[in-house]
């Protein structure tokens, strides 16, 4: 009883122990029948105790190989057969009553009482699902770490490296063997603070994400990297170190720098060019305006960004005023470069209109995909205005074509290119309007200028016109001379836009002028020849005349008393004739000597002195006629004194000769009239009938035959003297009422006129 009782107590204790442990336990007898199964075992088998106890183990404990799915011998069978412990093969899966599969780890051992007799066996097994999962996860992680391109390293809180993956080896050049245990600062020897700070943050439990910095390789080469650093914790959540995942971003940084550099270069280029530049995306939305585009459109790049191109770049046709298709839209549709139609106006943001010239082109990426459109345009308002104005003026000129048909004219722009060419110009030059328009006029007409062209142009710019004579070459090579009048056209802002050149063909006139000059020269030469001839004749004729005189006198003297009366009369006539001829020759000589050849010394001449000299020379005749000869104060004139003495003397002796019954009264007076001295010699003589007033100044003209002595050359000499000094002489007289000879002489500059 006692023994039975103690056995029962022993069994109780055993079962309680088995029931409390975590593993499944099943005991069998030597026949392999289940004698005991603890709770865990029943739970894994998914069976109640009644279905298990007393039953053969193989009936409830089905195990298979996880991979082959073949039934595996129970370790209990092996223990009962071989009497030794048996472990379970790997990859064993228990199939529970409801068919669920559980990976297990098991072993069996014999139960012996005393030394040898086997009482049965005991089977111990456990569910290893959790362990297997953890193992798989850990292997996966290791594989990931090892195969990663990133550098994955860990360090402890002192900064000593504790792990180093293959990515880290590739990136830094250190192997795991040589680096583990080294301080992390070897990776950035020039950035110790950064390391310390990071470590402090990790100790505080913080995480550092995508931290961009520079690290050095084993070879010392720096590279850009992006680091994500996390704290490492042990099972208790205590921070023990840090893991760092690093990525080499050198190429990325380079690319970004290059893009930034390129963008800057582009910005500077677009900012500095004279054309306006805009860009849009593939939806036609504005992405960029350069400064010129900003100025012309009135939109800033920021304001315009994202707006449809039509808002910012609004264009219309100049004539129809209809919106024209935006070149951006056409580029997007056609995918190629397009130019703008003519006569396009840009309406700026504030409503101003600008004539523009533009083109659009697609922006393509490296694959040739369109990324957007670039639009280039420029303000051609000025050019257009010039075209428009000259077109206006051309139209104006056409209207006046009836008037202009007689005038050779054309209009040229400031580059001297012909923009209008009328029919008269075509007739004159032989070039049609079609041939002439667009040509540089000076080149087409081979213009010969009277002065350097630059001087002419500055005169034109200053005065607005220019007049001068040009030589032009017509079609066929002939040269013509034209009187040219240039008029500068200006716009409303006073800016020159074109030049109207009106030409008058004066070739004929120039030829006539030239012929006249030649004729004048010939005439002057003939006149000079005649004068010299008259001088030589009058001079040389004196010689034979002297012979006749001398020898007729010699005859009279030598044969006095021996000649009869008739011979004596003949000789007397010879003497008379020669005397008269001598007088004529002397006067003729005097006349020829009053020439305009300017060989005499010209000086101021006081006419008072001249008057006295003339009176002195005529003294005998004055006394004989009991004449009164007086004068007012007379002025000084410019000339050769003997000429004036002769002038006064001839007029005084004339007055004496043609005196009337009463004693002669001769008076000389002077007055200034129209800047000329007007000098009058008045007498109370017989007077001259008006019909003779002109012819008395002719050479050898005499009115009175031999009644009054004279050669008829005196007044001709007077006229010659007066005309030589630029004056005029005439007479005012009636028969029986005396005569007044008047002549004019220029006033001497600076000479003080005498009073009276």
């Amino acid at each position: 009883m006692r023994a039975e009782n103690s056995e029962r107590i022993e069994r109780q204790r055993f079962e309680t122990t088995l029931a409390s442990i975590g593993d499944a336990v099943i005991a069998t007898d030597t026949q392999g029948r289940v004698t005991f199964a603890n709770r865990i075992a029943l739970s894994l088998l998914q069976r109640p105790e009644a279905e298990v106890t007393g039953k053969p183990l193989d009936g409830v404990f089905h195990i298979i190989n996880e991979i082959t799915r073949a039934a595996v011998e129970s370790p209990v069978t092996r223990v009962l057969r071989e009497g030794t412990n048996a472990g379970l093969a790997n990859h064993t899966v228990l199939i529970a009553a409801d068919g669920t599969e559980v990976p297990i780890d098991d072993s069996a051992a014999p139960i012996r009482s005393g030394a040898d007799a086997m009482q049965g066996s005991v089977l111990v097994f456990r569910d290893i699902t959790e362990r297997r999962r953890a193992e798989t996860a850990s292997r996966l992680l290791a594989a990931v770490v090892e195969s990663s391109e990133d550098a994955i390293i860990t360090k402890d809180l002192n900064g000593a490296l504790t792990s180093w993956n293959r990515g880290a080896e590739r990136m830094y050049g250190y192997t795991a063997e040589e680096i583990i245990g080294q301080p992390v600062s070897v990776l950035a020897p020039d950035r110790p603070n950064e390391m310390t700070e990071t470590l402090e943050r990790i100790k505080r439990g913080e995480r550092v994400e995508h931290y961009r910095t520079i690290r050095r390789t084993k070879a010392g080469k720096p590279f850009h990297t992006s680091l994500t650093i996390s704290p490492l914790r042990d099972a208790n959540g205590q921070i023990t170190g840090a893991s760092t995942i690093g990525r080499d971003i050198t190429a990325e940084v380079r690319a970004q720098e290059e893009i930034a550099e390129r963008r800057e270069r582009l910005r500077v280029t677009l900012g500095s060019i004279g054309d306006a530049v805009m860009a849009t995306d593939t939806q036609g939305r504005v992405t960029y305006l350069n400064p010129v585009a900003e100025r012309l459109t009135g939109w800033t790049s920021e304001e315009a960004a994202g707006r449809p191109i039509e808002d910012v770049f609004a264009i219309i046709n100049e004539e129809s005023r209809q919106t024209v298709e935006n070149p951006v839209a056409r580029v997007l549709r056609e995918g190629k470069v397009v130019g703008l139609a003519n006569h396009t106006l840009l309406i700026s943001r504030d409503g101003k209109e600008l004539a523009i010239d533009d083109s659009g082109a697609p922006i393509q990426d490296v694959q040739g995909e369109m990324m957007g459109v670039v639009l280039t345009f420029r303000d051609i308002s000025e050019k257009r205005a010039a075209e428009k104005l000259s077109a206006l003026q051309t139209a104006e000129l056409r209207k006046q074509s009836r008037l202009l048909e007689r005038v050779h004219c054309f209009v040229r722009d400031l580059d001297d290119r012909i923009v209008f060419w009328n029919r008269a110009a075509a007739d004159l030059y032989g070039f049609s309007a079609g041939e002439a328009i667009g040509q540089v006029s000076h080149t087409l007409l081979k213009t010969v200028f009277p002065a350097p062209l630059a001087g002419i142009q500055s005169q034109l710019a200053a005065a607005g016109y220019w007049d001068g004579e040009l030589v032009h070459t017509v079609r066929g090579g002939g040269q013509i001379c034209v009187a040219s009048h240039w008029t500068l056209y200006k716009d409303s802002d006073d800016q020159p836009i074109a030049i109207l050149e009106v030409n008058l063909d004066i070739t004929g006139r120039k030829q006539a002028e030239e012929e006249l000059r030649v004729a004048n020269r010939a005439l002057a030469r003939a006149n000079e020849d005649l004068n010299q001839f008259a001088f030589a004749a009058s001079h040389d004729l004196q010689e034979p005349l002297r012979m006749i005189t001398s020898y007729s006198q010699l005859l009279m003297k030598g044969y006095r008393g021996q000649l009869d009366g008739e011979a004596a009369t003949c000789i007397e006539f010879i003497t008379e004739g020669t005397k008269r001829m001598r007088e004529l020759l002397a006067d003729l000589l005097a006349y020829t000597q009053v020439t305009g050849d300017g060989q005499e010394v010209v000086a101021p001449v006081d006419l008072n002195d001249v008057f006295h000299a003339a009176v002195e020379n005529c003294k005998a005749a004055i006394d004989e006629a009991k004449a009164s000869v007086t004068s007012d104060r007379l002025p000084a004139v410019q000339g050769y004194e003997p000429h004036f003495v002769q002038l006064f003397q001839n007029l005084v002796s004339n007055a004496l000769k043609y005196r009337s019954e009463q004693p002669p009264r001769i008076h000389v007076s002077a007055a200034m009239q129209n800047s000329l001295w007007r000098i009058a010699v008045n007498d109370n003589g017989i007077g001259i009938a008006p019909e003779y007033h002109r012819q008395i100044f002719g050479v050898f003209k005499r009115l009175h035959g031999k009644v009054i002595p004279g050669t008829g050359i005196g007044l001709a000499i007077c006229q010659r003297v007066v005309e030589r000094y630029g004056g005029q002489i005439w007479v005012e007289s009636q028969v029986g009422q005396g005569a007044t000879f008047e002549f004019t002489l220029p006033v001497v500059e600076g000479a003080t006129p005498h009073e009276g």
């Binding site: 001079h539 004196q542 010689e543 005349l545 002297r546 012979m547 005189t549 001398s550 020898y551 006198q553 010699l554 003297k557 020669t578 001598r582």
Partner: protein
Amino acid sequence: MRDEPVRILLVEDNTADVYLFRKALTSAGLNFELTVIEDGAAAIAFVLGEGKHAGSPVPHLAVLDLSLPKNDGIQVLEAIRATERFANMPVVVTSSSPSPPGRLKEKQLQPARYIIKPPDLEDFLRIGVTLKEMLLQKPSR
């Protein structure tokens, strides 16, 4: 000495004037020996003692007309002044021009006297008296 005739050289192409000069000298009562040369070139040859004129004595007085064939009177006067033997011979220049030509002054060829041939016979004959007075005043020349 008084019986020796005065040697007078007359350079004059007009034979009518030569006649009147001879008349004038005679009527002035001069005892003279007149050498007449009718052109400028011959006169220069005389001065230079060329050909038939070699060794001719220097005249006491020369009367030189300005207008002469070949070389004119001025060239003759230049030759006279340039020839040492003749340099001091008094020269009377005659002409029908009322004033002496500028060339005489330009070349500083001041003659002893400038006489305009007068148209009147009596005036002409008076030239003989003038010449006689000149010869009497300067007998050494």
